[in-house]
Symmetry: C2
Subunit: 204 residues, 2 copies
């Protein structure tokens, strides 16, 4: 298809498609004449991915480029690549150093019987979240941690079972399944609160 058809198919303005081509986020089409190129389904798919990361998630062109490089070249250690791809997503975390830089997150993961690797950015993210709850006078109790942790581990196992085996697709699935499904999860929890609360409100 021509570039105008590509833009229409992906729901992205033509000028934006040209910008992504110039920036190298979108791979060139196959030249069909001196001034025209032909695009296919791989371009539509890539445009949807870029649009999701920039439009829905709010990443910068630079951040998207970093993720697309991992999609295009997942390398030999897929799980390390998946970790790097997720860590390119918000929230930005401050890596701490020292002897025991993430004591709350370490204790929480130990209580859950999960791997503790201080180099994984979600550890710093968990530490910051636990510290904020503590500072507000509402620390996460061990009971709550175990309740949340168990349910989320079940959700994570479900997610991983459905990960496509092909490495490029696996990186895409992991990035979008993090960036786009997290808002779904938070909205579902809020709606579940409303549902549970409504069930209580009607009781005498």
């Amino acid at each position: 298809m021509r570039i105008s058809a590509l833009a229409a198919e992906a729901g992205v303005p033509l000028a934006t498609v040209k910008f992504y081509l110039r920036e190298g986020l979108l791979h060139p089409g196959v030249a069909s004449s001196a001034t025209q190129a032909s695009y296919d389904g791989s371009h539509v798919r890539r445009l949807r991915l870029i649009r999701a990361l920039i439009g829905s998630v709010g990443l910068s062109v630079q951040q998207v480029r970093a993720i697309l490089q991992l999609v295009d070249d997942p390398g030999d250690d897929l799980y390390a690549t998946l970790g790097r791809a997720v860590s390119a997503l918000p929230p930005a975390v401050h890596e701490a150093s020292g002897n025991d830089p993430y004591p709350r997150a370490r204790a929480a993961l130990e209580a859950l019987g999960q791997i503790y690797d201080p180099h994984f950015p979600a550890v710093a993210q968990l530490e910051a979240a636990l510290a904020a709850a503590e500072a507000a006078g509402m620390p996460i109790s061990e009971e709550r941690l175990l309740e949340y942790g168990r349910r989320l581990h079940e959700i994570a196992a479900f997610d991983l079972e459905r990960m496509p085996p092909e490495p490029h697709a696996a990186v895409e699935y992991t990035v979008l399944g993090t960036a786009l499904y997290e808002p779904v999860i938070l909205a579902l929890r809020r709606l579940a609160h409303q549902d549970v609360a409504a069930g209580r409100a009607v009781r005498p």
Copy 2:
């Protein structure tokens, strides 16, 4: 205690405490002389709440004021007040109108057997999240919806069981349990992914 001791106890700079007093976010102390007032545990608690909402959650003074009004005056319909308090938190949603403004969210909640109330802001939030996943070519399947929805309903039931019965405390618990526990939930899911993936990576 004096205002300087209050600031130290709550971990908030003195100038900030004075600012919150002027803005009416923090209730005045009891005058102990013409130029001094005495503060107590209620002020420490309120300061921690304000700091959490402004510092950790990133709300504006105006948004915090709206939430504090609901904490201070929960009214007769506690569940409606809890809903209003949560809807003062991010993300901001665009309320839609028309015949069936949130078709994806409605279908999802019907599939989950949960209440659908288009006036609850988390419905618009869910609609936007589902639409973004769909536009990226990764719509939430019914299987995934049921899996996520069931686990999150269990988490929500746990949350509600632990809600303090006293209305002022219930509003505080709901606001902070939403604003501060959501980041914990997202970090735990990312870490659970890592834990599940590591378990797979060591297998041949």
